[in-house]
Amino acid sequence: MTRAFMKGNHALAEAAIRANMTFFGGYPITPQSEILEYLSDNLPKAGGTFLQAESELAGVNMVYGAAAAGHRAMTSSSGPGFSLLQEGISYIASAELPAVFVDVQRYGSGLGDIFQAQSDYYVATRGGGHGDYRVIAYAPASVQETVDLVGLAFDKAEQYRNPCLILSDASIAQMMEPVVFPEKRKCDPDHEWAVRGKRGGDFKKITSTMYYTENFDQYIHDKYATIQANEQRWESIQAEDAEIVLVAYGISSRICKEAVSTARAEGIRLGLIRPITVWPFPEEAFDGLGKGLRAYLTVELSALPRLRDDVMLATGMKTPVHHFLAGNTVPSSQTIVKQAVALLEK
């Protein structure tokens, strides 16, 4: 397979086409607009429909319609626009439809700014919109992983009939790296649940499945428990014997990985747990770490700790959980090592 050299956003868009996404409706916002730009040209060429929606609200609801009709559909946004998607995501989850969403995280609340950040962690992992639902959220740390996870997200969305999210950030989205794509898939949109006109059969209603699901509370509880049990993904790097285990995802996890190798070369026992799914959070990754473990240190591109809370929950706070917040600046690995050493010296 030949390698292409591509921007994270462009690669993400191409991966969606390869996964047989046939509908995309979205609205421009930095730093994800290249996804729209790429798809406006390449999705129609691949036989799909690209629509620049009048708002994120319209975009996500177009996705709802296309998904209800059985087609693989996606929209993408960032920060303020991602807030607007939440209404539609809640409805899509409620109707138990598959669809894929992208949040290319940018910094700050409100308008904020367009720098890289990881401050949408709560909205990504807690469901974002109203009601009882969860979104399977994948956090890629490279352009290649973005491509791999987009394909997986479409498959898992269909498997569980639930929205999936690609939680990217401005760094991963804007940088270019070599990438290898899978072959284009073919998918049949004529799922038994999809609306396509009753065609002589019974008519179908796509609405909240709550209205016609027996023991709904138990059902929905079990659905998400199953996902939680089966879909945790993570990468663990020299965590088993570490004194300090770093926890980071996305762009900051790459710097942490560098920090681990720098620290190990100096005899400092640093390790890393890198969540690939931020929901379900990879709680299993924290099982059975070595007795020498003294603390966790989350490394987050935000002004307030977010990921830290999930580490606390996953570990029952039996070990201290610290956080290092780098705001909108990608820290150097030396900075991270220093933070870890300071914890050891406490």
């Binding site: 009048e54 609200l57 177009m62 319609g65 609306v195 009753k198």
Partner: protein, 247 residues
């Protein structure tokens, strides 16, 4: 004269209040879809409001959208399934207040869908609050002293909003009398035909009584429609097959 049978597409009794125009509109729409042999290929998009009660009783495929977003949902459906007949069915609050943007932009893009907007001048399902279409002076639960246009604006006339757009079909009908219901059916048929022929967006706005929230008898409601509502919302065909008419 032939028989007049209740369309089979109406699979259950409707759930609307006494005298509600939705029941009539549901039946007329069912007749049109049956006569045009479209029931098997129809997909409706409703959102929230009294209109959405029909997804249990009107036997076509349905998608229920978030409040206001039915047009965007219909657009998503039609774009991936162009072979289907795709329509929206919404009240005035749903389509013209919270969903004004989605409603307008479906028309701006001349989406090949058909929109039915039921204008009864009030939010019915939530118990009679003021709608964008409420008349000046109209008493509602959120305008107890009567709608004040200096505060809430004049009634929103969607036909006027859409008249300049390059859409296929635009009409306003009414269920306020037998004759108007007969005309309404022609409008609905014309709008549906435009989609089937690929000509694009069709909208039929339908004036409809809400005796319950207007707090009127049926006769009072019908008189109010004839005497007041139609002054603000004249009926007729405004765009036919993409051509503006003088209606």
């Amino acid at each position: 004269m032939t028989e007049k049978r209740i369309p089979k597409t109406l699979v259950e009794d409707n759930k609307f209040c006494p005298g509600c125009g939705h029941g009539i509109i549901n039946r007329v729409l069912a007749e049109v879809l049956e006569e045009m042999e479209l029931v098997d290929m129809a997909i409706g998009s409703v959102a929230v409001g009294c209109a959405c009660l029909m997804i249990d009783t009107f036997g076509t495929d349905w998608v229920q959208a978030a409040h206001g977003r039915a047009a965007a949902v219909a657009c998503g459906i039609k774009r991936v399934r162009p072979e289907n007949f795709v329509f929206t069915y919404q009240g005035d609050g749903d389509s013209l207040a919270i969903g004004f943007s989605e409603t307008m932009y479906a028309a701006v893009r001349n989406e090949n869908i058909t929109a039915f907007i039921v204008n009864n001048g009030i939010f019915g399902m939530t118990g009679g609050q003021m709608a964008p279409t409420s008349l000046p002076g109209q008493r509602t639960t959120t305008s107890p002293a009567g709608k004040d246009p200096s505060l809430a604006g004049q009634p929103l006339n969607i036909i006027n909003q859409m008249r300049q757009l390059p859409i296929a079909y635009l009409a306003r009908g009414s269920v306020g009398s037998f004759k108007e219901i007969i005309k309404l059916k022609k409008y609905i048929k014309a709008a549906v035909t435009n989609q089937i022929e690929g000509k694009g967006y069709g909208l039929v706005e339908i004036l409809s009584p809400c005796p319950t929230n207007w707090k009127m008898t049926m006769r009072g409601a019908l008189d109010h429609m004839g005497d007041n509502v139609k002054n603000f919302f004249p009926t007729g065909e405004f765009i036919k097959e993409g051509v503006h008419t003088d209606a």
